[in-house]
Amino acid sequence: MTRHIEIRKNTYVDSVSLMSMSTKANAVEGVTQALLGMATPMNKEVLLNVGVSDPAVDAAKPSDLMIVIDASDDTIEAAIQAVDDILARKNKGSADAAEVRYRTLDGAFTEVTDANLVLISVNGAFAAREARKALNAGKHVMIFSDNVSLEDELALKTLAHDKGLLVMGPDCGTAIINGVGLAFANAVRRGSIGIVGASGTGSQELSVRIHDFGGGVSQLLGTGGRDLSAEIGGISMIDGIRALDADPETSVIVVVSKPPAEEVADKVLAVAGAASKPVIVNFLGSKRTESGHANVTMTSGTKPAALAAVLATGVDESTLDLHALNIPLIEEVRAKLAPEQKYVRGLFCGGTLCDEAMFAALDKYENVYSNIQKDPAYTIGATEPSREHTFLDMGDDDFTNGRPHPMIDPSMRLQRLAQEAEDPEVGVIAMDFIVGFGSHEDPVGVTIPAITAAKEKAAARGQHLEILGYVLGTDLDTPAVTEQVAMLEAAGVTISSSSTNLGLLAREFVAKGDNR
């Protein structure tokens, strides 16, 4: 085994590109480990954690690129070359002579005077400053980057509010503005339903369900997950609701959020109540069922929210395929599971999808563990084994630290799937598959071998392992949701028609005795 460490001075490659390059580099024959990263204190620590300590690494600066390759002695040269090629391709692309590229936002704004929105996905340490520049130049902003401080977020949102501008994020994964999907988004019909979402996959799910019910989306505004915290106070959410209220193309407004701070929930509901249009609210996991405002409807999940929105546009419910829970299917699966197969394991890419499934389980069971559980007694970390009912948001920071998001790179989820299949007490493994802009080009295809292996492992010990899948996407997405579903069905996976149903089916499949 040979280790090759190289520091390239003043060479900047953005961190997400580097992660996807790392994924490719790790696939090079002979490579046991390849790490590419900018020499930030965090990345240096990542290296230390995997046992790489080197004076050259210590001396490297955040503007330097670090390359560490472990490979067998006889393949190291080829591996270095292969990694070089991966890096070179990227550099070539960005130097394409036909493309005009700007070095600074000021430079871009000077040349392109009709630019009206900036999508920022650079490292979070630098994102706030760029966002401030954009806002000061009168541009709307979507900040995909995470790791932006709370102080910066508050300052940016206050600035945007004062200027009448939209700031989506930080950590805003999805938006659809004027029919254009930004970052992670699905291809949905345009229509009259406006969405403001403090949760990325929750908003995606809403847009897809609305599309599925024959409705369409006017605008989908993201706010970032922290917007409804007490500190931020829902600035973007409130501005978003008001903007949609004033938008003639929007007739119904839907609000979705992971559990908000109570006082912020009150504030948001008050603004919704003052709106001139119906507002459908889905605060996931909230016990509120009444909004206190005639035009504001509280809903229990993303699917009920989407349905309520579509109905509020005047669609006749009897014309819709509601995809009701398939009761015979539940009975059929229960019959296949052995008495000891009591538990659900959820392996999720989408944070809100995980939340929704977890809350469905919590409505029925107490012993529900998760890395995003608020109750410390039921919280488990990324490296801990699952126990009883476990729902993992594998896109959360403790899983993705220094690694690509599972919507882009499935490898971690595949490993976890194999692990869960070892446990004879597991009856159902629930998984989401997210297609559309920004996502993996074939999330189902890369997972099928692991699914087959998991089922075989259970069969070998005489058990049936139920794999429950949900594909978030539309017939307009690439790949289309129908193709992905067909592949899953061929592999013996049971398909849920929505995020809401995924949670309900999973919990019902494993219900035993008194719980039925």
Binding site: N10, Y12, V16, S17, T40, K61, P62, S63, G93, S94, A97, E99, R101, Y102, R103, T104, L105, G107, A108, F109, V112, D114, A115, N116, L117, V118, L119, I120, S121, V122, N123, A125, F126, R129, E130, A134, G138, K139, H140, F144, S145, G164, L165, L166, I177, N178, G179, V180, G181, L182, A185, S218, Q219, D239, A243, A246, D247, E249, F437, G438
Partner: protein, 474 residues
Amino acid sequence: MSVNDLFQTDLRPVNLGLDMFADDMKAQGVDPVLMDWTPPGGGDPEVIAALSRLEDPAVAERIDAANQVALDRILTAQPFLEGFGQAIDVVPGMTAKTILHAGPPIEFPRMSGPMKGAVTGALVFEGLAKDVDEAFELAASGEITFSPCHEHQSVGSMAGVTSASMWMHQVTNRTHGNTAYTNLSEQLSKILRFGANDQSVIDRLNWMRDVFGPVLSGAMALNTDGLDLRLMLSQALHMGDEAHNRNVAGTTLLIQALAPYILETDFTTKEKREVFDFVASSDYFSGPTWMVAAKAAMDAANGVEDSTIVTTMARNGVDFGIRVSGTGSQWFTGPAQQVIGPMFAGYTPEDSGLDMGDSAITETFGIGGFAMAAAPAIVALVGGTVDDAMGYSRTMNAITTGNNPNITIPALDFMGVPSGIDVRKVMETGILPIINTAIAHKDPGIGMIGAGITHPPVEAFQQALRALSDGIAA
């Protein structure tokens, strides 16, 4: 544009970050504005904080006004060659035991190999030591005063070593009244300023002292009008020079202007012939002349309060130093970098000394690497294509304050050379100035082994920005 106006307008997004998001936008029929972004300040949080302080609108306005003053001084400078004199007679602060050198201040023990070679050769040339060995002892003894050329209104190419009896260009900026100096070209290869110091080097220096300098001095004594170097430099760029690594046209123009006066001097035909032959022996004769012209312009721009314009970039083979108008004579340094480019047969990059010389004053002024597009004939020397050369010159617009309408590049539609490097813009864009330069062997006594391009270290600009922020935004 309000949020509701945005809903009624075609989306024109700027994609700052992941290219895949731009690709998705294109797939949806939207034309995203693409960015080639790097973290400002080399990613240093302190530098980013300093940049942000300078972005305060009131502060930025003051800086912009100051930079305009400094830029105007650069653009309006009219450097005239007035004559030639020996360093001891003309250079401010020069003494018999002073050795001027390139770059920021450095003591003899820390000097690079080629600079030590040049210093010891100069001590032998001046008769202060009988041989190079004795010269090493003397140089280390503390008896010799070492001082940067730049602190004596001077510049020196490569090692920049300038001793008392060397002949100097005397160039006066007639707009602002300041004068600048530089010594004569020894031409190329095995010469003192590249660190060579054997008898052939000393013999040439003796001839330059006894014949070359006096002939040029005598010629210019007859030319009472002086030579307008800015005009000549402008012509040279139109003829295919960038006036740092390529000086073919400039040298021809300069000797053409001097020739009638040389002929009129009382020197022998043999001596005049030697001068013409020496000038013809390489194209570098006018190299120092453009450096001193640039120095005369840049000195006039120094010391403008609140200005963030770079007035000096210079290297001593160990440290790269810059000085900035608003901080006057203060040096900001970082490690000198490797020069990347082709080498003479038999040498490898391991043999090369680090970046050295005051010649980056040409880039500071806006020629040299900044004017690469004017000199397509040498792009191979700096390892690129003609497109690259055009790109270098255009890219420098991103870090400069304006363009020099007096010195233009025909191939870029007569764009003026980018002038007035702004420390803020360098830090903001992550684009470092590009420098065309020669490569000396890392050991004393060998000389030139190649040429290529290099950049200043980012550290020098980070230091400068912090100091500017402390001074201006305080």
